[in-house]
Structure formats: structure tokens, C-alpha cells
Symmetry: none
Subunit: 234 residues, 2 copies
DNA sequence: GCGGGGCGTTAGGGGTCCGTGAGGATCGGC
DNA sequence: GCCGATCCTCACGGACCCCTAACGCCCCGC
């Protein structure tokens, strides 16, 4: 669980970083709006804690920029208490709004609520790809082969991000644009070459016969589709 | 958009009901916790506005009961301002927590934020064409045949664009001009040959007997019409 | 009965997209 | 500074999709 902490208040940022790290979150920090947008695109946070009123780029513009390509939960922190400010932020795409000063345990509870809504509990369940068992949380892939061969497959970070998208959308078509935005960020929506390469990598590592894919299917002209193996009862 | 309003305060409930109805929401009301659970199960609300501290059943128990089988967004209203109460409600499964008294426009913005987060799956409504089930979002067509044959139909991108237009305008006449400009762009309004070709493709792939179309009908001299299959009782 | 326009169908070519392999560039660890 | 892993670039062969062209059929008007 990676949290992007965008705040220009040194003291608050340090306090939050310590508290969040103690709860097991991985924290990455941004000092202004431009840096927040950049990190949101390239560091793949699972949640964004955004302070309105940072320098260089307005907080609302940060929300709109991120929302243009990502659905990552955005939790706004702000000292402003007037409701107009809240309405603007929420309607721009923020998911929650907390006014400073706030109680730390309440903020943590709201973070958990937002994290819960996106994880979908699907992480806990082990996904099956043919004879392989994938654990997204532990980042492990083991063979459930009856012969007891403990052949473990290793994936690179980029491969994991791609695989995660496939496993979380079984049966659904994932367009090139969507995959590229989620894995490589919104500024690489045209580099279709990346996809061909890494899909080929996944197939080579996960498909029984990579030349005839059963799970990672190509939809010509549109994108790719992960088809969970039907539980055949032979 | 249907909202379940669970509150035992007559005055507040009346005010909220009027305000929400004026915004185009459909409001169903519950007077206590037991009724709220009952309506949440049977009335299929898209969002729940829940007042803690209602009689008969504790608010937290309502949250837990609903969360046992549903992911519908729950927005808690409460007069209690201590953070422990908020933490308990959020961790029980609530998605947001607003303390009374609250600004009405802020509440409405938070409702919109919650509605936005779930609307993604709403338009994934499955359309039916005879024995086939079409999912426009996932780009899948599966056979709901009773014999259990999971024959899936594959469509090309152009076929999908055309089918999407038909499914979104059931029963309506679609002129050649409209179809051509939507699928092939405004500069191909005269290439009627495209249409004949691709309508034939759709019929071949989707009609039970392509030579006698039941769903994709020709209106001579004008265009085409998609007639959703009436549930025949033969 | 006759001719014409619109519609359905089929086959084939051109172009775009996809799969694959090798090689260079970059980053972090030792 | 060396080394390994990971990421990206580039080029080529092949598959698939889209479009073009032609033919047969039905309906309609004359």
C-alpha cells in the first residue's frame, strides 16, 4: 500500500510520514503540485493525500490532472473550512475531504475506508493461471503441479503491474490506452511497443504454450483480455 | 440513482427528502435500523444515508449487516463528533462520515463523490440478443444457452462500434447517414457499401438465422433498426 | 413483362497491427 | 569501477482487419 503525501508543511509532512510508516504504509512525498502530478503518474501510488494550497500548481488542478487518467483515491487535507471549497474539491474528483486540524485516528480510518473500496478483497484470494498460483499481495507465483515441483516464477516490477491489472479484470477487455496509462503513466499512451514486449514476457513466463495463448488473449485492434482458465473437469 | 434515507428525525428526514428529490434522486425512507436493513436488502438502493443512533438496531450493526452482502456506499450522518465514533463506523464498513449540523451543499457533493465511484459498473448492464448476452464495457458476448455451451462470439473493433450504436438505441430507426458518420466519421456519409457489409457481419455472428433477421432489421430506403428480442413464450 | 435501383453476399488485395528476436541504455548493489 | 537485472529501441515476418469490386436477388415503378 503506497501513499503519495503531497504537502508543503514540513512539520505536518514529517509527522504524517512517521505515523503512516508505522502503520505499514509506504510513503512517497511531494513538495508542490507539479511534483505531486509527476509522482502520481510515475510512482503508482495506491492513494493520494493532497494538501490544497501548495505552491506552483493549484490543488484543484492537481485533482483534475490526476483524474484525467487515473481513478486512484484522492483524500484532500485543507485548512479551509468553508463548504464551497469542499464542494469544488469533491466535484473535481476528490474522494474525501478532511479539514485541519484533524484527529489522526480519524484520518487513518478514512484512509482505510478508501483503501478498502479499491482493493476489493481480491488480493487476498489466490489467483490461478493454469497450473500456477499467483499471490498478488506476497508477489509470489508457485506451481501447484501434482508432481510437487516447486518451480517458482520470477517477475519484474513492470510485469507485476501488468499482471495485476489483468487479474483484477478477469474476462474484461483492457484497451491499449488503459493498460499503458496504468502501467507506464498517462504520457506514454502511444508507445504500444511496450505492451507487445511485456505481454510477450508474461506469456513466456506464465502460459503453458506461449505460442498459443490460453489466458492472455489478443483482441486485434483493441487490446488484450485475461481469460481465467475454465475449471475443466477432465 | 436511488438513495435509502435512514433517519428517525422527522424534520431532518423531510428536509433531506425534498432536497434530494429536487436533485433528481429517488428517495426511499427507513425509520429505524431494522427497516433500514430490510430496505437495503430488498429495494436495491445505490447509496445509503445512515443516521447513527436510531432505535431498535444500533447504527454500527446496520453497517455490518449491510456490508455482509453488499458493497453499496454508506454515508453516515451523526451528531456525535468524537473521533472514536467515526473510526468505529468507518472501520465497520462506512464510506464517509458527516457530522451534524452539516452544510447541505457539502453533503450533496459527498453523495456525488460516492455515486461517481460506483457508476463505473452501472453501465455494464448486459444487453440480450436472443440467446446471447452482450457486455459493452467488457466487450464480451457469451451464449446463455441452456445446454451450457460457452460459445463466445468475437467481434472486430468496427463491428463493436456499430453494435454499440444499435444497442444504445433499441427500437429506434438509425439512418444510414447517422450510422456512417458515427462509425466511420463524418467524411464517409456516402459510402453505403460499408454498412451493408458490416450489418451482414453482425447478422451472421449474432442472428440465429442470418437470412431472416429478427433483431437487425432493414428499413428500405432509410436505414436500419435494432429490435430487442421480445421474450417470446412459444 | 420489363427495366432499374437498392440490398445482400462473396472473394480478394492492401495496409495496419501484432509477435519475436537481438542489442543498447540505465539503474542499483557490491 | 564492475556486474547483473531491468527497461527500452529497432527491425522484420506474419496475421488480421478493413476496404474495394463485382455479382445475384428482391422489390418497385412503368
Amino acid at each position: 500500500m503506497r501513499i503519495l503525501l503531497a504537502d508543503d508543511d514540513d512539520q505536518l509532512q514529517r509527522a504524517l510520514r512517521i505515523t503512516l510508516a508505522a502503520r505499514g504504509y509506504e510513503v512517497i512525498a511531494a513538495r508542490d503540485g507539479a511534483e505531486a502530478i509527476d509522482l502520481a503518474a510515475n510512482a503508482h501510488p495506491d492513494l493520494i493525500l493532497l494538501d490544497l494550497g501548495m505552491p506552483r500548481v493549484d490543488g484543484l488542478d492537481v485533482i483534475r490532472a490526476v483524474r484525467a487518467w487515473s481513478k486512484v483515491p484522492i483524500l484532500v487535507l485543507s485548512g479551509r473550512t468553508d463548504s464551497a471549497e469542499k464542494v469544488d474539491a469533491l466535484d473535481a474528483g476528490a474522494d474525501d475531504y478532511v479539514t485541519k486540524p484533524f484527529a489522526m485516528d480519524e484520518l487513518l480510518a478514512r484512509i482505510r475506508a478508501r483503501a478498502r473500496s479499491t482493493s476489493g478483497e481480491a488480493d487476498a484470494a489466490a489467483h490461478a493461471i493454469g497450473a500456477l498460483t499467483v499471490d498478488l499481495a506476497a508477489k509470489t507465483i508457485r506451481s501447484t503441479d501434482a508432481s510437487g515441483n516447486a518451480t517458482s516464477v520470477r517477475l519484474t516490477p513492470t510485469e507485476w503491474r501488468l499482471l495485476e491489472l489483468f487479474l483484477k479484470n478477469p474476462g474484461k477487455l483492457l484497451t491499449r490506452q488503459m493498460l499503458l496509462s496504468e502501467v507506464w503513466g498517462p504520457f506514454h499512451a502511444n508507445d504500444a511497443g511496450y505492451l507487445r514486449l511485456y505481454v510477450a514476457q508474461l506469456r513466456r513466463k506464465l502460459e503453458p504454450t506461449p505460442s498459443e495463448p490460453r489466458f492472455f488473449l489478443t483482441e486485434p485492434g483493441m487490446g488484450y483480455r485475461f481469460e481465467p482458465g475454465a475449471v475443466e473437469a477432465t
